[in-house]
Symmetry: C2
Subunit: 349 residues, 2 copies
């Protein structure tokens, strides 16, 4: 075996199969998206390792190559797939995350590479240098195991069946310690409830904190919540998720009626003192999504000012990136917003 | 073997011995410096892995733990040494670099750990949690092999024996591609000479560009230059090194006489247009050091505004960190300063 000219910085993708112990060695073909892949077709791709080198724009747009790219390359005969890290350039930092093998498509090994390495392979291709990569990954998919959502609540003093839900997900990719995605979200929602309890505040309606399990691998905790509480979703008043990291809070996203938005904007004026009073266009979250859709209720999310997509799914997602003062501000903002929604005479619609 | 609770992000140190294939497993003891190590003594250190967790202040101060720490721990019976990355906090980014085993001290394996991991091990110790680390490193030291300094020059038109030297070192740690340490320094000094040639400028004295070999492992290229040119160092006018990365140039460091400094400040006014006209207190470099000491001549270095110590010795030292405009400005600044020193009627003293 030839001595490699350089080593790529990679992280296997969640859900990927692994390689044989000796790895998979093949020529790399770099593509700028699905159109380019399809125009190369099986002739240009079969037997090769496909690298999707698509610079990060926003998560929704770029994550498609991580999620669906391996299957689309595999269907054309590629032997493995690499994906440019779905995030802004870091310091040779790859971003892992889940892929989804399409039914019937060959399951080929897939890994994220750092933006620096993707750029380099692109430059080599542009220059006409054929590049061979040997990919070695020990990935395997274990059978499902039981895990649980963690639920706690302050029962409402007048309308205990009307429920305001706040929470985050307490699983994370194991490459870091999951402080930003989504340890912080769990802590600040839990802390918001604790603040109410500590202050002896018991609102009219129930406030429930939910720490969802297994968001990263298909949102299983969020789906289980929807199913477990199916008959009660009609009396869920609002659900809020914090899953964009805990940096300086700027306010909340809100999805719902115009009247609901006006009410939430009104409540947010209480948060001017900590500059967390902006209400932005959309309030959503991977875990609350299924229940919100089923229950047709308003939904909210904590808005923050920070570089979430640089850190999440990386080895750098560690606790030192979180400022305790930001965390206190976020807890306070969530406590105020949630308490008022749970306690005001009229139900938020 | 127990499943590890987490994996440290490490880089073996240059010159370190490796571990047996199964690794070295031992309890970690975190120390804040040599005083703490010595006060623990053999009783507190023997059989353990010592972690030097000393936050980065400046390179000279902090690098002592990387260079001498392994031997001092080994002398007290430690079985391996870890060193907090010598650099500002990055994104789980360890910094490699050379260690120097002391004569007679046991040669124990040694690695750098990221600041995040050092912080974590420190927190665990502060909390009273005993932490066991298994260190696996394949490091080995190969026999010396030949390598060469690269030398090119424009011979002076009137005083060819008086020489102005500029350069950088063209070896690097192999974890990145060495763009900042010190590919950029080589390119901008070489480019300064090329600019003179392209413009048809032949100064009174010789301008020589030297790309030194093997700086990282003991400055062997710099020592070889001193020895090879020993008899000619008296007619070396000035030596300049660029080894602080190529970011926006701010001017030059200068070490020499007051008269020399006044002259260099005067020349630097030509660089006001690109804001590269500051002359700072000291101009030095690892490669020019031995020759400057032997030849008792003025020395200079390129000053830049950038986060050199974040990038150097890391996997993130890649070409994308360099701004081509900064590189052009640096080449221009070096060309102007060097040309005037080489061409002015009186020799710089």
């Amino acid at each position: 075996m030839m001595r490699p000219a350089f080593t790529l910085t990679i992280l296997g993708l969640g859900g990927s199969v692994g390689t044989p112990p000796e790895g998979i060695a093949a020529e790399v073909v770099v593509v700028g998206g699905f159109d380019e892949l399809d125009s190369l077709g099986a002739t240009g791709v079969a037997g090769k390792i496909v690298l999707y080198d698509v610079p990060f724009t926003n998560y929704g747009e770029t994550v498609a190559f991580r999620a669906a790219g391996p299957s689309r390359a595999g269907a054309l005969g590629a032997v493995a797939a690499l994906v440019r890290a779905v995030g802004p350039p870091g310091l040779r930092l790859p971003h892992t995350g889940a892929l989804r093998y399409a039914d019937g498509a060959p399951q080929i090994p897939a890994a994220a590479v750092s933006t620096e390495d993707a750029d380099r392979l692109q430059r080599m291709q542009d220059r006409g240098t054929p590049t061979r990569v040997r990919l070695k990954m020990e990935a395997k998919f274990l059978p499902d195991a039981d895990s649980f959502n963690v639920v706690g609540e302050i029962r409402g003093r007048e309308k205990p069946d009307e429920v305001v839900v706040i929470g985050g997900h307490f699983d994370s990719w194991d490459v870091g310690t999951g402080s930003t995605d989504d340890g912080g979200g769990c802590v600040v929602t839990w802390e918001a409830l604790r603040l109410m309890k500590k202050l002896g505040l018991r609102p009219r309606r129930t406030v429930r904190v939910v720490l969802w399990t297994n968001e990263e691998n298909g949102g299983r905790g969020g789906l289980a919540y929807r199913d477990r509480y199916a008959s009660e979703l009609a009396s869920h008043v609002m659900m809020m998720e914090s899953d964009s990291g805990v940096f300086r809070p700027t306010g909340f996203g809100f999805t719902g009626t115009d009247a609901g938005r006006a009410k939430v904007k009104d409540i947010a004026t209480l948060l001017r003192g900590i500059q967390a009073d902006r209400i932005s266009a959309a309030g959503d979250g991977a875990d609350i999504g299924p229940s919100v859709e089923a229950g047709k209720m308003p939904s909210m999310s904590l808005d923050v000012d920070g570089n979430y997509f640089l850190l999440h799914h990386t080895p750098a997602d560690t606790v030192d990136k979180i400022d305790p003062m930001d965390m206190s501000r976020a807890s306070a903002a969530i406590a105020v917003m949630t308490y008022v929604i749970a306690d005001m005479p009229d139900r938020l619609r």
